[in-house]
């Protein structure tokens, strides 16, 4: 462990030159949000352009910083910049500082680059919305909070970004909150996230009590000498936080409903960036998890369960966005699983996170483009045959589809295959269980994504009479093309070249040379066969045979998956109903019990209960007098006994 930690903590140098501009990355989108939200209607005309320029500028700075980091030696790629003293009380000294290292650089590039593309896309997608300016304001707010989250150099500053993205997510899910269902979805997301945030809060409390500080350097240095018990609790609390933010089991229920937000939001926040913050948290806290194997095991279990859970739901959904949401949950399950594996998996968790950021954003924006053409319909049973009328969307979507199912050569293949390999590393039962879960998941992913692709773009046209599908304008299709290129090539560029593992090594350590329990070539072959089988099955089922425009009843498993495997039913009966009952009885108790008792006591003091009623007509003096007498007696008694 000590060698690992030495690798994980390169000396952080003071940032200079363009690297010292980290604050500007956050300040630019924050300025955008402030101008758009405070500027009001005056900014309507140019607000969307201003709002797009901010993340674009941040992206340029990020690219310059990336270039500056590349010029440095691997050990010197971790630079910090101190901004100001935030909460100094006694031994607690929380500074606001930014840490730019290879890990945060990955996120900064992903967030600003994909974020900018999605801003551009939104110019077209939201063109007819009267509140487009407000939308861009919220998006800017999100980008600022997300960048703060990944650039923070302490857990408490990270917390600010952490809940900041939660707020942006809340505002954007409820962007059309005049629809009561959407408003409820927004609240559900925030509350579920707060349950996770409880974990982050408690983690911060433990950190200060144990290590005397909450900055990464203090906590990780302290973790070296801490007991396994402390680190396990700390790890589990961080995992709870990660589960809330990343929609992992058992806090996954909000993500499907979150699709109420406009589709660019689903692409940016609920697919590419925010929901992966949990993975970031676990990887960032590696020194804590390294000392807590039990917590790591739970991370792996959560990842494995969620990846299968999401995949199962993905197979049954007919709503294109909800199917994609289930897929997001499942793919993050893969990342979480990898992150729980330790050094063997960290780099691949981040690798999959990056490729997923591209192809899932592309898929969501593609779905948005379809909805744009189909009058905002989302029911895939009413799609079909769109390949001929939306050629650009179709082709770009195809890249995303092939990437996510792990078609050989495309991005998802490189990153997911590595996770499956890593999951098969180890001794005893674990590699067999977790590796197999990851492997089977790949097959199911191929099935449901092919189903989604075929139901939307191929087969018979099952359109309702009132739709006239058309291709989206260039402002929307250009981002699709860029993301398609990323979906195709990013994996090839980073994976087989070893670039990503090498880049992240100073932060997460070398991944070692452990061999999986099944030979790598055999494993890759198995994966590809399973993927092709899953895709073929879906193709045969949904392309060769007609798709019913209303969903058939289906098996019990289908019905359960359609209802998200009863996650809401469980939450309602375990938490919401008892909670509502508790609240109601407490309100009753407070009105009758506590208040009643006090009123009763007052009545006793005053004499009769009839007098109590007269209180309301103003018989204060008698009470004051009687109490004054009482006090006088007390005082007299005290004086008498000389205390």
């Amino acid at each position: 462990m000590s060698t690992y930690l030495a690798a994980a903590e390169p000396a952080t140098a003071e940032a200079t030159g363009v690297l010292a501009l980290g604050w500007l990355l956050i300040a630019l989108p924050l300025l955008g949000a402030a101008v758009l939200l405070l500027g009001g209607r005056r900014t309507d005309r140019w607000g969307h352009l201003f709002g797009t320029a901010m993340p674009a500028l941040a992206c340029l700075i990020a690219l310059a910083q990336f270039a500056a980091l590349l010029e440095r030696d691997a050990e010197e790629r971790s630079v910090g910049s101190h901004l100001f003293s935030w909460i100094p009380v006694g031994a607690l000294e929380v500074e606001v500082g930014l840490l730019l290292d290879p890990l945060s650089m990955c996120f900064v590039l992903l967030v600003t680059f994909v974020g900018t593309l999605i801003h551009v896309y939104s110019i077209g997608y939201m063109a007819h919305d009267p509140d487009r300016r407000r939308f861009f304001g919220y998006l800017n707010l999100f980008v600022a909070a997300m960048l703060l989250l990944v650039l923070a150099d302490s857990f408490l500053v990270l917390y600010v970004g952490w809940e900041g993205v939660g707020l942006a997510s809340y505002l954007l899910i409820g962007f059309w909150s005049y629809n009561p269902t959407y408003a409820a979805a927004a609240k559900k997301a925030f509350v579920a996230n707060r349950v996770g945030d409880f974990g982050l809060s408690v983690a911060v409390l433990i950190m200060f009590a144990q290590f005397g500080g909450v900055s990464f350097s203090e906590v990780f240095a302290g973790a070296e000498g801490a007991s396994e018990g402390v680190l396990t609790v700390l790890g589990l609390m961080l995992l709870l936080a990660a589960c809330g933010k990343s929609a992992q089991f058992p806090l996954q229920s909000w993500l499907g409903d979150a699709m109420a937000g406009p589709t660019p939001v689903s692409a940016l926040i609920h697919a590419a960036t925010m929901v992966t913050a949990g993975v970031y948290l676990v990887v960032r806290s590696a020194p804590v998890f390294e000392g807590a194997p039990d917590a790591q095991l739970v991370v792996v279990i959560v990842g494995a369960v969620t990846l299968l859970f999401g995949a199962a739901i993905g197979c049954a959904k007919d709503d294109i966005k909800k199917a994609l949401a289930a897929s997001t949950m499942s793919q993050i399950g893969y990342m979480m699983l990898a992150a729980g594996l330790g050094p063997v998996g960290y780099a691949f968790a981040i690798f999959h996170l990056l490729t997923h950021g591209f192809f899932k954003a592309g898929l969501f924006l593609g779905a948005g483009s379809v909805m744009h053409g189909m009058g905002d319909q989302v029911n895939m049973r009413r799609f079909g045959g769109l390949s001929s009328v939306m050629k650009v969307t179709w082709v770009t979507f195809a890249f995303g589809w092939l990437a996510i199912i792990g078609f050989p050569g495309l991005s998802g293949f490189w990153s997911k295959d590595k996770i499956i390999e890593a999951a098969y590393v180890g001794d005893g039962w674990r590699p067999w269980v977790f590796g197999t879960a990851a492997l089977v998941g790949a097959g199911i992913t191929a099935f449901y994504m092919t189903r989604l692709f075929v139901m939307t773009f191929h087969g018979k046209r099952r359109w309702t009479d009132d739709v006239h599908p058309h291709e989206s304008p260039l402002v929307m299709t250009v981002p699709l093309m860029v993301l398609a290129v990323g979906s195709a090539l990013l994996g090839l560029a980073l994976g087989p070249t070893g670039a990503i593992a090498h880049w992240l090594e100073p932060v997460v350590g070398a991944h070692g040379e452990e061999e999986p329990v099944i030979a790598v070539t055999l494993l890759t072959t198995l994966t590809v066969v399973l993927v092709l089988a899953g895709a073929a099955l879906a193709w045969l089922t949904y392309e060769r045979r007609p798709v019913a425009t209303t969903a058939p009843r289906g098996s019990w498993l289908t019905r359960a998956a359609r209802r998200d495997l009863y996650q809401d039913t469980v939450n309602e009966s375990l938490l919401m109903h008892p909670g509502a009952w508790l609240t109601r009885s407490l309100v009753f108790f407070d009105n009758r019990g506590v208040d009643g008792t006090v009123n009763g006591l007052a009545a006793l003091l005053g004499g009769t209960s009839a007098r109590l009623r007269r209180l309301q007509t103003g018989f204060v003096r008698s009470y004051a007098l009687s109490m004054f007498a009482g006090a006088a007696v007390v005082v007299g008694a005290m004086l008498l006994v000389r205390l």
């Binding site: 150099d153 707020l167 925030f190 409880f198 009590a209 350097s217 109490m627 006090a631």
Partner: protein, 510 residues
């Protein structure tokens, strides 16, 4: 620092203002309001001048101190002075007063009673608020503590809602019970003290020798009075009635400032004067405050009346404040003090914006609203920001104080801190449920014509929100003032912060 009696002057300005306003002819309502606002702004300017001269590293505990003999036979002096804790609370009170005056501009126009009376009462209340935080003589503190009830009683009883008499009397009775217990304890304190013409001076009472039983009794006398005022569960039931029936401006000063006298009293008087008894009572107080945090939050979730809901959220927040004070750590107490200030501003924003909403629709019931966001986006947006501050969203001021309280509590009482942290989940429910029910959805027949914030209302809300955001990101100026005062309190109680279990190696600090 000169010998100029800053604090007395600061207290006299609102008193003169109240008299001037009261003396104006009843017909000149607008003038009365303008004069009241003018005086409150002068007080605010004076407070700013005072704060700028305050030396946070000053050697003396109390600055701007004034001491005059008042009733030497009983050891009573007229003594004022502020430390960091008192200063930030006075600053909060003097910011909130003009805000409340401006917010209440038309609240009492249609009332049976003259509008000028209401504004005179607000100014009178401001004088008492300044005095009670500045008093360094225990007897003087007691007198102001009790006298403060009078203007508040009339604000609720004369200008309140339908149930105002019941609420006002209930408020008065609860307060009187507490006040009388405190009076008994004050006299008891005199008896045990060394006597002399300045016996009641805070510094002369410090370290008074007394038996364990006596100390505990006296502690309880003070503590129960403060716990009613704060209010701490289960002594809270007067607050929802009083706050709901009071006009919005009065509710803000009641919940935002007056109740803080309770928690202020705990940290200023209970802890330093009765250090051993305070530590003896700590487990019980911690338990009550944790219950209060969850109880207040659950009750808030179940409310149907907006103002009662906000009142219950305050009960939950007061739980946090008391928890921080009795955690006996510098983080806990500094957090609690900061919480008093932050809670004042965020609750003021909530009450006042809710008041604006209620003045448009004429109902306090949540179910009578819906879809306001569509027709009045500024009203809805500012209400949301105020709510987010109440649920302690990081980046807004309450977060800093809440996390400080929790951090400070955890290092001594792990279980209590973890349970209290559960309050953050409930907070998101009570705020967002209220927002969802009132602001989202399609506008109803009653809300579809609702006007957005007008200029005056925007001027009321803007400073509050600016402060909430500024203190969220940069609380250091306040903490710099609060920290030395808290350190001194800890010293007087005789406690030190616990050491971290596994301190990071030296040099690990960034």
């Amino acid at each position: 620092m000169t010998d100029f009696p800053w604090l007395t002057t600061l207290g006299l300005v609102p008193l003169v203002g109240a008299l001037v306003v009261a003396a104006l002819p009843s017909a000149r309502e607008l003038l009365a309001k303008q004069v009241a606002l003018g005086f409150s702004l002068v007080v605010l300017a004076g407070t700013i001048a005072l704060a700028l001269q305050f030396d946070s590293d000053g050697g003396e505990q109390f600055q701007f101190a004034e001491t005059y003999e008042w009733i030497p036979q009983f050891g009573v002096s007229y003594a004022l002075g502020v430390d960091g804790i008192a200063l930030v609370l006075i600053a909060m009170a003097t910011v909130l007063t003009p805000v409340c005056i401006l917010a209440s501009w038309h609240d009492v126009d249609s009332d049976r009673r003259s509008a000028k009376g209401y504004f005179a009462l607000l100014l009178l209340l401001e004088m008492f608020m300044i005095g009670v935080f500045a008093a360094t003589d225990v007897f003087l503190f007691y007198v102001l503590f009790e006298a403060m009830l009078v203007p508040m009683y009339f604000i609720i009883g004369s200008y309140g809602g339908a149930q105002r008499s019941y609420a006002a009397v209930k408020f008065l009775l609860y307060s009187l019970v507490g006040g009388l217990l405190m009076l008994a304890a004050v006299i008891g304190l005199y008896v045990t003290s060394d006597g002399g013409p300045k016996a009641f001076l805070f510094e002369n009472l410090l370290g008074t020798e007394m038996g364990t039983g006596t100390e505990r009794l006296l502690f309880l006398g003070f503590f129960i009075a403060f716990a009613i005022k704060a209010p701490l569960w289960p002594l809270h039931t007067w607050l929802p009635d009083a706050a709901a029936e009071s006009p919005p401006g009065g509710a803000v000063l009641l919940v935002g400032v007056l109740d803080k006298v309770g928690t202020f009293g705990m940290i200023r008087f209970c802890l330093p004067l009765f250090p051993d008894a305070s530590q003896w009572a700590t487990p019980a107080v911690i338990t009550l405050s944790v219950i209060g945090i969850l109880y207040g939050a659950l009750l808030a979730i179940g409310q149907t009346d907006m103002k009662r809901l906000i009142a219950y959220t305050s009960i939950s927040h007061f739980g946090f404040i008391v928890l921080g004070i009795f955690a006996m750590t510098s983080q806990g107490q500094a957090g609690a003090t900061l919480y008093m200030v932050n809670h004042g501003f965020s609750t003021a924003a909530l009450f006042l914006i809710a008041g604006f909403l209620i003045s448009r629709r004429g109902s306090r019931l949540i179910r009578d609203y819906g879809g306001v966001q569509r027709v009045a986006p500024m009203l809805a947006g500012t209400f949301l920001v105020a709510g987010l501050s109440s649920l302690a969203l990081p980046g807004l001021s309450s977060f800093v104080s809440e996390i400080l309280v929790l951090i400070g509590t955890y290092s001594r009482y792990e279980v209590a801190a973890v349970i209290a942290t559960g309050g953050i989940i409930l907070a998101s429910l009570y705020i967002l449920l209220m927002y969802q029910r009132t602001m989202t959805g399609e506008p109803t027949e009653h809300t579809s014509q609702m006007a957005d914030l007008n200029t005056r209302e925007a001027w009321v809300v803007a400073p509050l929100i600016a402060i909430i955001i500024a203190l969220g990101f940069f609380p250091k100026p306040l903490l710099d003032v609060i920290n030395p005062a808290v350190d001194r309190t800890m010293e007087q109680v005789g406690v030190t912060d616990p050491e971290p279990a596994q301190p990071a190696a030296e040099g690990a600090r960034p």
